[in-house]
């Protein structure tokens, strides 16, 4: 005979699973809708049918150019960057058990930016090599931050503070390189100071897609271990998670994703920071927020770029939109975290 408590338990678990699935589906649909919107609407409105025909390869007068060359790469880049930042950001926040410990704040994106800026402006490089340099720099910075915060084991608080210090250093280096560049190109500067998908090209999407597949896949395969890590290092170890090794693997994957995205779009402000907390609110703390956070990242970048282009009095790159709108939410989050003393 099945006890009723067991039945209730199973029923509740199934209910939670259904909620998770519906959240993910809705978010995915939202991404698709925004994607389609960005393809159809611009300086001119392209009818949906034409958009589809262009996507299928037909050559149509002006539409092929606007949709195929201008809007499509931009939209694709937005989605890929958004997914990368969202997934990478939430991973850091979960691992460090603090929503304020986002890669934006502890130096990872600054490191990748600095490397990319250096490669592009000082070394005059271009293409996938920049992404590789950025990823290496991102990994280097995270190892540096990790290593510097080691003293009788790593303490989360120390790691965050060291990250803040390193980030400040890197930001000043970025400012210096940008200011001493031969031509103070505002557009380029904006890309590296707050992030932008202006002038994106489809060629840049390939390495990003690869990084998302490899690193993202690695992360999602470790999602159960990540859930165990949320309970504290001791508890995770007691549950059979090889804490040090898993942490390292997860960090490499998250840093890799974020650095790859930064190398292309610059450090799109706050996306990595916001996606996790928003996902956690929507999906509840009982389910893993990884996939929802990735989707929310994509939504934020798509919507932010769209707003920056068409909905505001002036044209802003996406980073300024997400930065300015994200700031109040950031403050709200700090207030909430401090008041309840909670983790993500």
């Amino acid at each position: 005979m099945v006890s009723t408590s067991l039945q209730t338990l199973i029923a509740n678990r199934r209910r939670r699973q259904r909620r998770y699935r519906s959240v993910v589906s809705i978010l995915a649909l939202l991404v698709v809708a925004l994607f389609a919107l960005s393809l159809a609407i611009g300086q001119t409105v392209t009818p949906p049918l034409e958009v589809i025909r262009v996507l299928l390869g037909e050559q149509i007068g002006g539409a092929s150019f606007t949709v195929g060359q201008l809007r499509l790469p931009r939209a694709v880049m937005s989605v890929l960057a958004g997914l990368s930042f969202g997934l990478g950001g939430v991973t850091f926040q979960l691992m460090l058990r603090n929503p304020l410990a986002s890669p934006d704040i502890i130096g990872i994106t600054s490191g990748a930016s600095a490397a990319a800026v250096f490669a592009i402006i000082v070394l005059s490089l271009n293409g996938p090599i920049v992404s590789i340099i950025a990823v290496v720099a991102g990994l280097g910075v995270s190892m540096l931050v990790y290593g510097l915060s080691l003293r009788n084991g790593v303490a989360g608080t120390r790691l965050i503070l060291v990250g803040i210090g390193i980030s400040a250093m890197l930001e000043s280096i970025i400012a210096y390189i940008l200011s001493s560049a031969p031509a103070w190109n505002l557009q380029e500067a904006m890309r590296w100071l707050t992030g932008s998908v202006n002038g994106a090209q489809l060629g840049q999407a390939i390495p990003l897609l690869a990084s998302l597949a490899v690193f993202g896949g690695l992360l999602l395969s470790r999602s159960r271990d990540l859930e165990a890590l949320r309970l504290g290092d001791d508890m995770a170890s007691a549950l059979g998670v090889g804490v040090a090794r898993t942490r390292m693997l997860i960090m490499v994957a998250a840093v890799g994703m974020i650095a790859s995205a930064t190398a292309v779009s610059g450090p799109i402000a706050f996306v990595a920071f916001l996606s996790g907390p928003i996902a956690a609110r929507i999906v509840g703390s009982s389910s893993s927020p990884l996939v929802p956070a990735a989707l929310i990242g994509a939504v934020l970048v798509l919507a932010g770029d769209f707003a920056g282009q068409f909905l505001l009095p002036s044209r802003y790159p996406v980073g300024v939109v997400t930065g300015a709108l994200g700031a109040p939410y950031l403050i709200y989050l700090i207030v909430r975290v401090n008041r309840t003393g909670s983790a993500l």
Binding site: A175, F270, G326, V335, N338
Partner: protein, 348 residues
């Protein structure tokens, strides 16, 4: 019995005298260092000058390029001394008020708040006079300080160093984004975005320094006079109250001094970070934690560090210059990290 006690008393008195004398020596040393650095600052730069040029320029003549260069460096050096002293002192006061070894006008977002306020004033309210800049900067600094402190002290444990630093870092990032958002549409001043992100003392002239002097003077006075209060606050709120101190008032008055100093410096130089963090820590190692010594020493030390950084910035990348704000970040961040490593986690 009496003879037993006497040697102890003498020992103690001589111990105190030694320390005070040491402190006086260090003070004299740092003043001498400052003088030397100022001399260096006037002499060195992207253009080499001769001794005769220097003496001529100091007398007010600007006949050749060398003398003109020196004539430009004099206000620059002066501004560096003032700003450095202001920021070093403000940092020491902030660390005392918050009992937080990581407090610094840059980290706590106070400088960025000042920047943002000035930028908003310029773009949306068309302010133009130096006086207006300064008032706006001070208002921005004050709002940022209150804001960061409030949200950093919510929840368990009050304003722990970590929570405060995080609140400050997050607020800085937020403000920096807002600065860009506000300035971007204005192509005419957008090129000047840089100066509101990273501070420097290049391009300083006497006209820019005069308006800020009264504010700095008041700020210096209030801060230095709060030394005793800070000594008491260092014992912890409960003890300080027990000793008759009005804690909230003490905190507020000391903070006002620091905010005046930060706002005024940022209005003229842009945000220069890490000075307020590094200098008090080094000074503490030399003259101890008594704020009556620590505060003036931090001011002098801050001036030294700023001038030294500026000189280095002029030499290292000739003929271009590296802004002071960049160098203080490059020097200060490792020191920040070193401080963080030294602390036990519980204190963070």
């Amino acid at each position: 019995m009496m003879t037993d006690r006497r040697p102890d008393a003498k020992h103690r008195i001589s111990a105190i005298a030694l320390t005070n004398r040491n402190r006086a020596l260090w003070l004299a040393g740092v003043v001498a260092l400052l003088a030397a650095l100022c001399a260096l600052s006037v002499t060195v730069g992207t253009r080499d000058v001769s001794w005769s040029d220097i003496t001529a320029a100091l007398a007010g003549r600007t006949d050749n390029l060398g003398q003109a260069a020196v004539a430009l460096r004099i206000p620059r050096t002066l501004l560096g001394v003032l700003a450095g002293a202001a920021l070093g002192l403000a940092g020491a006061v902030m660390q005392g008020v918050t009992r937080n070894p990581l407090a610094d006008p840059g980290i706590l977002g106070v400088n960025m708040g000042a920047s943002l306020a000035v930028v908003i004033g310029i773009v949306w309210f068309q302010i133009e006079t130096a006086g207006a800049y300064i008032w706006w900067a001070i208002a921005g600094a004050a709002l940022a300080a209150v804001f960061v402190y409030t949200i950093g002290s919510l929840g368990r444990g009050g304003a722990t160093p970590l929570k405060l630093a995080l609140a400050g870092a997050a607020t800085s990032v937020a403000f920096a984004s807002l600065v860009i958002a506000v300035v971007l549409p204005r192509a005419d001043i957008a090129g000047g975005i840089r100066s509101w992100q990273i501070g420097g003392i290049g391009g300083a002239t006497s006209e820019r320094i005069w308006p800020v002097l009264p504010f700095l003077a008041v700020g210096f006075a209030i801060s230095l006079l709060s030394a005793r209060k800070l000594n008491l606050l260092a014992l912890g709120d409960e003890l300080a109250v027990g000793l008759g101190e009005r804690v909230a008032f003490a905190r507020a008055s000391a903070s006002i001094g620091a905010i005046l100093l930060c706002g005024a410096s940022t209005a003229v130089c842009g945000p220069i970070g890490f000075l307020g963090l590094v200098v008090p820590h080094v000074c503490r190692l030399l003259v101890g934690i008594d704020h009556r010594w620590l505060l003036p020493f931090s001011a002098l030390g801050g001036a030294c560090l700023l001038i030294a950084a500026d000189v280095a910035g002029r030499i290292a990348a000739r003929p271009a210059e590296i802004d002071v704000g960049i160098l203080t970040a490059l020097i200060g961040a490792p020191v920040f990290i070193w401080i963080v490593r030294r602390q036990r986690v519980r204190e963070l």
